[in-house]
């Protein structure tokens, strides 16, 4: 690609999901992240009990992310052909795991504030 500027990448993502959906997703991710930072600051510490459930949800997030990407692109695990494929694959799983962990932790903290 000629110019991989920030603007190009945003434009490409807008086309993948549609402009509206993409920015809704960005907003949701930002809200969850802000919510997470908010409960951390509010509670002044991490609740390890809530963190446990968040951790337990991580494999689910990882599998869901991988399943989603494979399904959307008509591909399967057997198509992984080189080291970079494994890196991308693990990256997708990790993103799913971390994403769901933050989501679960934040929801718990907002729904059931500090006990």
């Amino acid at each position: 690609m000629e110019e991989m500027t920030f603007g190009t990448i945003v434009a490409v993502f807008e086309e993948i999901f549609g402009r509206g959906l993409f920015w809704i997703m960005v907003a949701l991710a930002a809200i969850v992240t802000l919510g997470y930072v908010y409960v951390l600051i509010r509670d002044h510490s991490i609740s390890w009990r809530k963190f446990l459930l968040a951790q337990l949800s991580m494999p689910i997030g990882a599998i869901a992310a991988v399943w989603f990407v494979l399904g959307m692109t008509s591909s399967s695990l057997g198509d992984l052909g080189g080291p970079v494929d494994v890196v991308v694959f693990l990256g997708i799983a990790a993103a799913g795991a971390v994403g769901i962990a933050i989501l679960v932790y934040t929801i718990q903290s907002l729904v059931r504030p500090k006990q």
């Binding site: 690609m1 000629e2 110019e3 991989m4 500027t5 920030f6 603007g7 190009t8 945003v10 434009a11 490409v12 993502f13 807008e14 086309e15 993948i16 802000l34 930072v37 908010y38 951390l40 600051i41 002044h44 510490s45 990407v69 959307m72 692109t73 008509s74 591909s75 399967s76 057997g78 198509d79 992984l80 052909g81 080189g82 970079v84 494929d85 991308v88 694959f89």
Partner: protein, 436 residues
């Protein structure tokens, strides 16, 4: 341990600051607009014409920009290969031409019928006379199906005949024929024309995909695959040709090089080829036909073509780095119609558009242009459902990988497939809007 402390107000202040910073980083063309009254006419509102129009609107203030194109539908042609393999529905490639055009341009929904480069006018099929100061010709190319004796488009989809280049509905019919073949087996014959063609990788992709699908259907042992092409090598770039040769051997795909398809007998399912030893015939159960390709009639009739190169095809005579016409300095060629040694792909269009844009604006401003086109072409060569090779190269046949050291061009990778599946159409659409 120090505890994080912040008041609610501080927290929301921080959040608002973050949002403002994001807004400031929003993309936009920072360059100042050039004021001009120039009349710019673009023939063809396909990949090249549309992308250029969007960029010119952003760069010029007061220019009169007119696009001439009779086609109501815009076609995302790289998607045709996926439609013809049953991976996407026909409407995956179809949108409206007007969906992509910016405000402030005029679209004349007629064909350009005549160009007079001396008088600087274009006459449309409806008889309108459009005068220009600068002209960009981007009408793509035409498929010469009549050149294949015994073949016509209404045959596609039946009797084992496929022709995916002809458009979305024909690509879908091609899949009907190819799918039937993948379930019953027999002889699969895959061809390409002798002329220059758009996306020279597409005939190979179709071969690889149908072979893979037949294998997955459990019918590979009952099917033979044969690739017949007029050229001496499987691909124009030697290092890629060698790689494809190895893959063909691995997958059991036979080849007949220097064989040009001249006709078919649809009833007998027999194809005729002109080869080095004269005429040969081959029987098939499935045949994929890609016809010879040429510049549209209007280009050839208007004296814009090369006189001594590609004389049977009529591509526009232009400088291969500036794309400016060699005899008429108010005319540029863009996209498939350009008479340059490489680059009949949408990926090339993406690199050519900024060059034509700069050439035009430099001409308006009376300065020397700075952008040049190096022949960049890209071809995500699908080798099976789920894997592709991200092949990029230039005029010199040098490989020019976008992600050197990360995505190997000659390796069959899942990430390259992901790019074709997810990012290619999005990048193409972003290009149409002038944003990539």
């Amino acid at each position: 341990m120090t505890k994080l402390t912040a008041t609610r107000r501080q927290f929301f202040g921080l959040a608002a600051g973050g949002a403002a910073a994001t807004a400031l980083a929003a993309p936009g063309d920072a360059r100042a607009q050039t004021a001009t009254k120039a009349r710019i006419v673009i023939i063809g509102a396909g990949a090249g014409g549309t992308a250029l129009a969007n960029r010119l609107v952003a760069r010029l203030d007061g220019a009169e920009i007119t696009l001439i194109d009779p086609r109501v539908d815009h076609l995302y042609q790289p998607g045709l290969s996926l439609v013809a393999a049953g991976l996407k529905p026909a409407d995956y490639v179809v949108s409206k031409t007007t969906d992509w055009l910016p405000d402030g341009v005029t679209l004349i929904a007629e064909a350009a019928a005549e160009i007079d480069p001396e008088a600087k006018t274009v006459t449309t099929s409806g008889g309108q006379n459009v005068a220009y100061d600068f002209l960009v010709v981007a009408p793509g190319l035409v498929l010469d199906h009549d050149a294949i004796e015994g073949f016509s488009l209404d045959m596609v989809g039946q009797n084992g005949i496929g022709a995916l280049y002809a458009g979305p509905e024909y690509a879908a019919k091609t899949w009907q024929a190819a799918q039937a073949f993948s379930e019953t087996g027999g002889m699969g014959l895959f061809t390409r024309p002798e002329t220059e063609m758009k996306c020279a990788g597409a005939p190979l992709k179709h071969t690889f995909l149908i072979e893979d699908i037949t294998r997955s259907a459990g019918m590979r042992s009952k099917a033979e695959f044969h690739y017949a092409a007029p050229q001496g090598a499987l691909f124009g770039v030697p290092i890629v040709a060698e790689k494809v040769r190895m893959l063909f051997a691995e997958r059991g795909i036979g080849t007949s090089m220097q064989h040009r398809l001249t006709g078919i007998d649809a009833g007998a399912r027999r194809a005729t080829f002109a080869g080095p030893d004269g005429t040969t015939e081959m029987d098939y159960d499935y045949i994929h036909i890609i016809p010879p390709q040429r510049a549209p009639e209007v280009i050839r009739q208007s004296g814009l073509s090369w006189a001594d190169k590609w004389t049977d095809q009529g591509w526009v005579e232009c400088d291969k780095t500036s794309l400016r016409h060699l005899r008429y300095d108010t005319i540029w060629a863009l996209g498939d119609v350009a008479g340059v040694p490489k680059g009949k792909t949408a990926a090339s269009v993406k690199w050519q558009v900024p060059v034509v844009e700069d050439g035009l604006i430099a001409a308006i401003e009376g300065r020397e242009p700075t952008e040049t086109y190096n022949g960049y072409t890209s071809c995500p060569m699908i080798t099976r459902v789920g894997r592709a090779m991200l092949i990029e190269f230039d005029y010199n046949n040098d490989l020019t990988p976008s992600f050197p050291g990360l995505i190997a061009p000659l390796e069959e990778l899942w990430i390259s497939w992901l790019m074709k599946e997810v990012a290619l159409k999005a990048t193409y659409n972003a290009m149409l809007r002038g944003r990539a």
